[in-house]
């Protein structure tokens, strides 16, 4: 069964460093999402992406964040200069035209 994959599973970085979180959505999906979950808190929407552009972004998704679909298969989330409060679980999700978003296993980001 096709699934969304994410790499790495755990990323540790120093404050101020750039990180790129990678996702491979399900191959025929057209809509892509990033969510994050700070430990012990709810899952929050970051950004949605369709047709090679951002559809919607939350107030969390400031200028330090960017997304890209560089090669038609990967979907990346870049944080330019990480802060301590960026430590969280980051989930990628994708869907076709239907209503169900399929979530990846997440990347745990730890900023020291």
């Amino acid at each position: 069964e096709p699934e969304v994959t994410q790499t790495p599973s755990h990323q540790v970085t120093q404050m101020g460093q750039e990180v790129i979180l990678r996702c491979v959505p399900i191959s025929n999906h057209l809509y892509f999402y990033w969510y994050r979950q700070i430990l012990g808190q709810k899952v929050e929407f970051l950004v949605s992406f369709y047709n090679n552009e951002i559809s919607e972004k939350s107030e969390i998704f400031d200028d330090q964040f960017s997304v890209e679909r560089p090669d038609g298969s990967n979907f990346t989330l870049k944080i330019r200069s990480t802060k301590l409060e960026d430590s969280a679980m980051y989930f990628c999700a994708s869907k076709s035209g239907g209503n169900e978003q399929f979530f990846g296993p997440g990347t745990r980001l730890t900023v020291l």
């Binding site: 809509y31 999402y33 969510y35 929050e44 929407f45 919607e56 999700a93 209503n99 296993p105 997440g106």
Partner: protein, 115 residues
């Protein structure tokens, strides 16, 4: 703006018992989806059950069923014959009926199934 509220931060039940998790939401939309997601300790997000707002019939998936009360904006999850593997965080979630809309999650209910 849509909101999802889960009023039970944590619950514990004995194995084989039935448990109901509460969820209310607020929206001005008429067409939308509601979901329950399970998040075990691995932190993977697993879709448990889905309800389309235009359907009056409550969704059922094996031991999982919902009580959807559209007028009251209530969407509770019932787990029958609970099993140890049901121990997890459960999130109620809302999504507008739209091509690419985001999912809005509640804060979650941590469910412990006791042996």
């Amino acid at each position: 703006a849509q909101t999802v509220t889960q009023s039970q931060p944590e619950m514990s039940v004995q194995e084989a018992e039935t448990v109901t998790l509460s969820c209310t939401y607020d929206t001005s939309e008429n067409n939308y989806y509601l979901f329950w997601y399970k998040q075990p300790p691995s932190r993977q997000m697993i879709l448990v059950i889905r309800q389309e707002a235009y359907k009056q019939q409550n969704a059922t998936e094996n031991r999982f069923s919902v009580n959807f009360q559209k007028a009251a904006k209530s969407f509770s999850l019932k787990i029958s014959d609970s099993q140890l593997g049901d121990t997890a965080m459960y999130f109620c979630a809302f999504m507008k009926l739209s091509r690419d809309d985001k999912i809005i999650f509640g804060k979650g209910t941590r469910l412990h199934i006791l042996p």
